[in-house]
């Protein structure tokens, strides 16, 4: 176990390649089902639901990285493991995060394209009516715009050039998470329960950050959300 964790941390490039490959699978499956006309009885609903699910899935995984690194290191100390106590033992999680966020952007963009093409047929007039009549679409659209901003500012070069502003901008992922939960909640029928589950996950992931920053005993200088070298 220790050696696996150590191996992963030292070979994060291989891990990223593995995660990259896995992340293409939902898209490949979706495309094959589309191509072979195997999307089920309501193909439109299938496309829009599956693309949306993977978009929010990758968003939640991205948001989970920072808390999970902290929780894993805490758990390792609790279990007195020889490897995994330091935050830096989990740096590879942080190194995968940008890619996971970009996968969220990818699936959410597919979700938007499916809506624009199959529902609206690119009628901008209908798009405008939808934004003003169906607020869940407005929330979804704002979330997508934020996600695009985060995506285009994600390369290292731009991050360095933006300096402190980069972190401020990228904190908007918290707002983005809340907006996307509102999008899911408003889209669901009154009898559906999954929005509450998504909401609970986002609540826990955001609460972790609030709790850690409010309580002095929990605050750690090295838990910045960036790779740690202690």
């Amino acid at each position: 176990m220790n050696s696996i964790l150590k191996y992963l941390n030292q070979h994060d490039g291989q891990l990223r390649l593995a995660i990259f490959s896995l992340s293409t699978l939902p898209f490949i499956r979706l495309y094959l089902d589309y191509w072979f006309d195997d999307l089920g009885i309501n193909p439109f609903a299938s496309l829009i639901e599956r693309s949306g699910f993977w978009g929010v899935f990758f968003l939640l995984v991205t948001l989970a990285i920072t808390p999970f690194r902290r929780w894993f290191s805490w758990l390792s100390s609790l279990l007195r493991l020889s490897y995994g106590k330091r935050l830096s033992d989990w740096n590879y999680l942080i190194k995968c995060r940008r890619m996971l966020g970009l996968w969220s952007l990818f699936y959410v963009s597919i979700h938007l394209l499916i809506y624009l093409h199959f529902e609206l047929g690119w009628w901008l007039e209908d798009f405008w009516l939808d934004i003003t009549e169906r607020y869940f679409i407005t929330f979804g659209l704002v979330s997508w715009v934020l996600l695009v901003l985060l995506g285009i500012t994600s390369p290292d070069r731009i991050r360095r050039a933006m300096g402190k502003k980069w972190r401020q901008l990228h904190r908007s992922i918290y707002a983005l998470a809340i907006l996307s939960i509102i999008h899911i909640y408003l889209e669901a029928k009154p009898t559906e329960t999954d929005p509450y589950w998504y909401g609970l996950i986002v609540f826990v992931l955001l609460m972790h950050r609030i709790v850690v920053s409010k309580f002095r005993t929990l605050r750690r200088k090295d838990d910045t959300g960036m790779p740690s070298y202690r």
Binding site: D37, I41, N42, P43, A45, E119, L129, L186, P190, T191
Partner: protein, 309 residues
């Protein structure tokens, strides 16, 4: 069922369509069906009420495959999962089945499905539009509700008709959970119920009604969203006050009493301007009153249909 020829035709169309689907992609199919249009015989543009005995024929788009119509069902008594309903609904015992017809009527009745169909059946292929933005084209067999109304003779005070589904949690698994107040309740204004388009269906595609589609008896009101077309009807009451229907109780801002198909009035979640025909990918424009405007628009003369959604 006495409709042998209907069965042959619909099966042939169904098989033909499968063959077609296999040969070509869904996009080619859309092009083919785009040529069809829904329009009714111009002779009956009705500014006043239609008679129960009027002979009515309706043009319609290509039928939805039987498999799709029977494996994509909103039926909350069994499951909120449209695909699970076809399996879970088989638990329901549909024989014997008596419906109680009462309330403000001269002749309250308790009748079996056979006694009901003895009033005379009709075959009607209707477009069926779900509030969620998808639609089907289904050949129904059933009894015009107006025939039953003529038989029970509503009193002058009767202004609405209230329908209740059966409550049987031992067979309807989701009735054990309080998703909504069971049994499911729906309602129509008396003149809507008397419109000859409104039928009590006992069959579809020339076969007895499948359990997942509401056997043994369901309402079909083709110009309203699907949730108005209540399934597994147990009780029909004639009342003076507008009944509170199940979805209205759950979310009054979202589901109105009238629930007429209206592309101009958006639901907060589903744009009603468009719909997706089951089996197709691209949405098509929704027609006012689901294409049955000329038969039913007179019922709502002078009413604000945005407020009375």
């Amino acid at each position: 069922m006495q409709h042998q020829s209907e069965e042959v035709t619909s099966e042939a169309i169904y098989l033909n369509r499968r063959h077609f689907l296999r040969m070509s992609s869904i996009r080619a199919l859309q092009l083919a069906s785009a040529g069809y249009a829904l329009s009714a015989s111009p002779a009956v543009w009705a500014s006043q009420a239609l008679e129960c005995n009027d002979a009515l024929t309706f043009k319609h788009d290509e039928l939805t495959p039987f498999k799709s119509a029977t494996h994509y069902n909103n039926f909350y008594e069994f499951s909120p999962d449209k695909k699970a309903v076809a399996i879970l609904a088989q638990e329901l015992t549909t024989e014997p089945w008596n419906i109680e017809v009462g309330g403000l009527v001269e002749n309250p009745l308790s009748l079996s499905i056979e006694q009901l169909t003895a009033l005379g059946t009709v075959d009607r292929t209707y477009h069926f539009r779900c509030v969620e933005g998808w639609s089907m084209v289904i050949p129904w067999t059933g009894v015009q509700l107006c025939k039953l109304i003529e038989k029970v003779k509503p009193l002058k005070e009767a202004r609405y008709v209230k329908f209740s589904s059966i409550y049987r949690p031992e067979e309807m698994i989701s009735q054990r959970r309080p998703t909504m107040d069971w049994p499911y309740v729906e309602g129509l204004r008396l003149d809507e119920a008397q419109n000859p388009l409104t039928i009590l269906a006992t069959g579809m595609y020339g076969k007895p009604l499948p359990k997942q589609n509401g056997a043994p008896l369901r309402l079909v009101v083709p110009w309203k969203y699907g949730f108005k077309s209540i399934k597994t009807i147990k009780k029909i009451e004639f009342v003076s006050e507008r009944p509170e229907t199940s979805w209205m109780r759950l979310a009054p801002s979202e589901y109105g009493f009238y629930a007429n198909v209206n592309p101009e009035v958006a639901h907060p979640r589903w744009s009603q301007r468009k719909e997706v025909r089951l089996g197709e990918l691209k949405k098509r424009r929704t027609k006012p009153f689901n294409g049955y405007e000329e038969y039913v628009a007179h019922l709502y003369q002078g009413m604000n249909l945005t407020e009375n959604f």
